[in-house]
Amino acid sequence: MAENATPDRLVSQGPSEDDVVAALDSLDARPETNLIGALQEVQDRFGYLPSPALEAMSERSGIPLSRIYGVVTFYAQFYTEPRGRHTILCCRGTACHVKGAGRVLEAVERELGIEEGESTPDLMFYLETVACLGTCFLAPVIMIDNEYFGMLTPQKVAAILQNFRAERQ
């Protein structure tokens, strides 16, 4: 998952009609044959799936809007609301679990003052848990955008988040 693209403007207003047209015009995947791929592209662009984009996609492709929403709401990685720019994935896989992932998640939540599935008020971070990042040798591990942070303790988490924020301000 790359850095989330939500520009601040989108958060307050949503995308303009031109933004939506441009997004749909530039799709590599055709919704008719690869709906999930098309939705992923739209989401990569806006950081989430704005409803005007889904409505336009439905109109263009002839796929009923209800079906598109059915798909969007089924998969965990589709978002219908804007999210923080940097996605934190806290791994709750087995290896992480037996090595204290619960405490790491608590530490992230405590540090950011948000819970799983929420964004920080400044839209810097969005927090989510994931079944397994497949990096069990790093357990317990979190991932911020595409960067891994492994062998964590609650203390390390606080330092990582503070550094990450400082580096980007």
């Binding site: 709906l35 999930i36 040798f137 790093l138």
Partner: protein, 613 residues
């Protein structure tokens, strides 16, 4: 790369590449799994050093895939000697170049060590010595971003052989005779699956590679796609030829960015070189493979759900039959195999089924890759013959449990599997034996647990997982797992009721018998297997309100031992909620009402003065 329009062109290229390879030192850095610990910076530092000393003609750095010993990240192998260095950082680069690349000497401090003795060579390290790395043989060796490097190491020779010298039926015969069974978990004979798809009526036919490796604790498919993607593509070409498919898909989960990147690049390279597309290698056989990326649904690892997802639908399974072999993607005959299964195929063609079947047990042939993690010293990827024992994997290869704690159980098969207790350490592992003890081979995740792991908590953990990943289509799975989770949660919170274990057992067996797909049909396994082997732990939670492993937060508390505490104040600083108080150099104490049981103090205390009780 120029288009290879014939098999001769491929073999000529391989010959040319071998001639160019020359002597030279090759420094192979794991640039996939180890990336998390700075492998790419290590590569750059080594390359800078080699360039600075103008050694370009004598040495090169390969950004290879996983070496397997993930506990030693960043792992580096220096060939041709086969020296294994672990925990390498950018600062070590000049010394590695000076000593090993130039001088041919060993940097002992970077070597794996046994009782203080450095073990410099990879093949002498017990972790590697006890393995049979056949499927993984090029993982960590080839540069996954280079088709040329893959070809130099033998890629596509088996596909060329199948396309030119064998009829599709012969390929299937060979795979059948090899005894290869699906590595995704269920262990269905691969050759039979291919036979069905070949015999099925309907055009076009499809092949799919299931790389939606969702089991927590499994990362072998990830490593294969990241480290040797052309091996998978080659397996798929052979399979597509055998069943008569012209279109294939690789469905990779979104959580694996490096695997996605390498697979995508490998597909493009193969297409450009004429190894995919129309008339592959001039043989007249057409196949194109497209990559699809998942969107975060564990259930999509189930084949019918995965197919629905490729079709752009909600990833919900449907009842079988009809099986995908006759009614699959877009209603057409489809053959779907897991990454590791595809990775086994080229070797069967290359060496023949007889040679392949020499490894393994009566009913399970070949090797199996396990992702070894949890409370074990040498976490990493391990490939052993079918029939190896847990003891070999956990102790001989894995190096045993850190801090010499006691082996409690191995969780095999992820949320569909179960916990195998110490009594079965010497059981030869294959599809059938593992099933008999209440777990499943699954995709090969193997999480080691010691005496600080609570088995009830593990059952609750997996049930929580399957409950949230249940797609909701059928009632036993949707409602049954939720009720099971409620019971387990209440037991872990110290609110268990007499009769809960029996209720859980009854409910679990019902969910197992009546669910629609593999997810629900195996979801109760973690609970049922822990009840089977660790019922006394359930009883302690329910009858004594006590967690013997000291893991269930509601049932434990932290206390500072007055006699041992030196009053150093480290715990006081570590506590995120200010629950610890005390004067400097005086024994501290924890206020139970403020403590959130995060364990930070316990972890920080250097004097073992904080106990869990």
């Amino acid at each position: 790369m120029t288009r290879l329009d014939s098999i001769d062109a491929l073999e000529k290229l391989r010959g040319d590449l071998a001639a160019q390879e020359g002597a030279g030192v090759v420094v192979r850095v794991c640039s996939t799994g180890c990336r998390a610990l700075g492998a790419l910076s290590v590569c750059e530092a080594l390359e800078r050093e080699i360039a600075r000393r103008a050694l370009g003609s004598k040495a090169r750095v390969v950004r290879a895939g996983c070496h397997g010993l993930c506990a030693g990240a960043v792992a580096v192998v220096v060939d041709p000697q086969g020296i294994f260095y672990q925990g390498v950082t950018t600062e070590d680069a000049p010394e590695i170049v000076e000593e090993t690349v130039v001088g041919g000497r060993i940097v002992e401090r970077l070597c794996w060590s046994l009782d203080g003795e450095a073990v410099p060579l990879k093949h002498d390290i017990p972790f590697y010595k006890h393995q049979t790395r056949l499927v993984l043989r090029n993982c960590g060796v080839v540069d996954p971003a280079s088709l040329e490097d893959a070809i130099a190491h033998g890629a596509y020779s088996a596909a060329a052989q199948a396309l030119s010298d064998m009829r599709p039926e012969q390929v299937i015969e060979e795979v059948l005779a090899s005894g290869l069974r699906g590595r995704g978990g269920a262990g269905f004979p691969t050759g039979r699956k291919w036979q069905f798809a070949r015999a099925a009526e309907g055009e076009p036919k499809y092949i799919i590679c299931n790389a939606d490796e969702g089991d927590p604790g499994a990362f072998m498919d990830r490593a294969l796609l990241e480290g040797d993607p052309h091996l998978i593509i080659e397996g798929m070409i052979i399979g597509a030829y055998a069943i008569g498919a012209k279109k294939g898909f690789i469905y990779v989960r979104a959580e694996y960015p490096i695997a996605i990147q390498h697979t995508k690049a490998a597909l493009e390279q193969a297409r450009e070189a004429g190894l995919l597309g129309e008339s592959i290698l001039g043989t007249g056989f057409d196949l194109d493979i497209e990559m699809r990326v998942g969107a975060g649904a564990f259930v999509c690892g189930e084949e019918t759900a995965l197919i629905a997802s490729i079709e752009g639908k909600r990833g919900m399974p449907r009842s079988r039959p009809p099986f995908p072999a006759s009614f699959g993607l877009y209603g057409k005959p489809t053959n779907i195999n897991n990454v590791e299964t595809w990775a086994n195929v080229p070797r069967i063609i290359e060496e023949g089924s007889e040679a392949y079947a020499k490894v393994g047990t009566e009913g399970s042939k070949g090797t199996k890759i396990f992702a070894l993690a949890g409370k074990v010293r040498n976490t990493g990827l391990v490939e052993v013959p079918m029939g190896a024992t847990l003891r070999q994997i956990v102790f001989d290869i894995g190096g045993g449990i850190p801090d010499d704690r006691e082996f409690r159980a191995a969780q095999m098969g992820g949320p569909s599997g179960g916990c195998v207790p110490a009594d079965y350490l010497d059981l030869p592992i294959d599809y059938d034996s593992v099933k008999q003890v209440g777990a499943i081979m699954g995709s090969g995740g193997l999480i080691v647990m010691d005496d600080s792991t609570c088995m009830v908590d593990i059952a609750r953990f997996f049930t929580d997982f399957v409950q949230s990943e249940s797609c909701g289509k059928c009632v036993p799975c949707r409602v049954g797992t939720r009720r099971m989770l409620e019971i387990l949660t209440r037991i872990c919170n110290g609110e268990g009721e007499i009769g809960d274990v029996e209720r859980l057992d009854r409910l679990g067996k019902m969910v197992l018998a009546t669910s629609l797909c593999g997810l629900g049909q195996t979801a109760p396994n973690p609970a049922l297997s822990t009840i089977r082997y660790f019922q006394h732990e359930y009883d302690s939670h329910i009858n004594e309100r006590r967690c013997p492993a000291g893991a269930c937060q509601a049932l434990i508390g932290y206390r500072i031992l007055e006699d041992t505490c030196t009053g150093c104040g480290v715990c006081l600083k570590a506590c995120p909620v200010g629950a610890i108080s005390g004067e400097k150099k005086q024994p501290h104490s924890i206020s139970a009402s403020v403590c959130i049981k995060c364990g930070a103090c316990h972890e920080k205390c250097r004097f073992d003065a904080i106990v869990v009780e």
